[in-house]
């Protein structure tokens, strides 16, 4: 009995560790883009090669789900320790009308000074939304002081060090699962 359970544990330990997020088909190069960052600088995705990029589409006017995703990112950021230097946290607005670089800077600073906010005219952003499967719709709410809200896909995406779009998660996936997958990607790079 003891032998059988020891054998089971040994076999489990020999199994290769697998990703906890949803894996995308192999060889899917992340579409490149250049947008304006929260410091009014230019940000180009392809210039981030060598780092892992976490990508989320949200808006600062959102009081609930988007801050929840950013809170989750903060846990990931802090949980990675020194490895966080090898990860870029990139937040692209779905509300360019209200999300100026200054507004993005103010909002993201609550969570981490390392988070990068991106915006651009809506025409440019529409291409990025399409490339990453983001469905976004401005919804007028006449009875609300908000004026309008934005319905949008709320997923966290991971682009690996080689610029491949590898993994996707629900916005509320536990931080530990995403940290686990980031570490796997970092280890695979060290091993190659």
């Amino acid at each position: 009995m003891l032998f059988a359970s020891s054998l089971m544990m040994l076999l489990a330990a020999c199994q290769p560790d697998t990703f906890r997020g949803t894996e995308l088909p192999e060889g899917l190069t992340a579409a490149d883009f250049t947008l304006t960052d929260h410091r009014n600088g230019s940000f180009t995705l392809s210039e981030q090669r060598g780092n892992i990029v976490l990508l989320f589409f949200g808006f600062t006017y959102c009081p609930d789900v988007c801050p929840m995703a950013l809170s989750n990112w903060k846990k990931i950021h802090d949980g990675l320790g020194a490895d966080t230097a090898r990860v870029k946290f990139v937040y692209i607005t779905v509300d360019p009308e209200r999300d100026t670089p200054e507004k993005l800077a103010e909002h993201l600073s609550i969570f981490s000074s390392d988070f990068i906010g991106l915006t651009a005219p809506l025409d440019s952003l529409q291409n990025v939304y399409a490339d990453y499967g983001v469905l976004r719709e401005k919804v007028p709410v006449a009875e609300s002081a908000a004026g309008y809200l934005v319905t949008h896909t709320a997923r966290i995406n991971i682009i690996d060090q080689a610029g491949q779009w590898r993994l996707t998660y629900q916005y509320d996936t536990p931080a530990e699962d995403i940290i686990h997958d980031i570490r796997l990607l970092l280890e695979s790079q060290e091993g190659s």
Binding site: C62, P63, S71, I110, A145, A146, T153, A154
Partner: protein
């Protein structure tokens, strides 16, 4: 004084009277009649004021409301001095997209029932936050119930 202002003052005074006479506050929660409220919290928010003086930051108030009575009640509205407007909203995932709807008629609290306002679900949207909401601080909000009246609650600022 404008008549509207005078009426508003009278309403505020009445609410204050109710708050001081009819309601019980405790460390673990706040209650009025059959309604009790606990676990009231908000994430930290930086108040962003634009060059025209307009407050552009929002937040969400989360809480749990319990109705121990045999009659349903309704949370009709919320007010808080820290923001310009408070509205009851619901986030919902619909066909892979996150949607947010306003509940202009309020939210029923069923008899012997409990409603949780939590991330990704019901929340009170705090629109136009006027000052920084810093972790560890608190602020006051008033919950307006159809039957139970108005309850004052203290929201903790932080993450759960």
């Amino acid at each position: 004084m404008r008549p509207g202002k005078a009426i508003q003052l009278m309403v505020n005074s009445t609410l204050l009277l109710f708050a001081s006479v009819g309601f019980h506050c405790s460390k673990s929660g706040t209650s009025a009649g059959d309604i009790s409220v606990r676990h009231v919290w908000t994430r930290p928010v930086h108040a962003y004021i634009d060059s025209t003086g307009k407050a552009l930051s929002n937040g969400a108030l989360y809480l749990t409301i319990q109705n121990t009575g045999s009659t349903a009640d309704t949370l009709e509205g919320v007010s808080a001095a820290v923001c310009q407007v408070s509205e009851i909203h619901q986030s919902k995932m619909v066909q892979g997209r996150m949607t947010m709807n306003m509940l202009p008629s309020g939210l029923p609290i069923p008899a012997y029932g409990e409603i949780k306002f939590e991330p990704g679900s019901y929340h009170v949207m705090l629109i136009g936050i006027k000052r920084d909401l810093n972790a560890g601080d608190t602020f006051e909000a008033q919950l307006h119930f159809r039957r139970a009246g108005t309850l004052s609650v203290q929201s903790q600022i932080g993450t759960p």
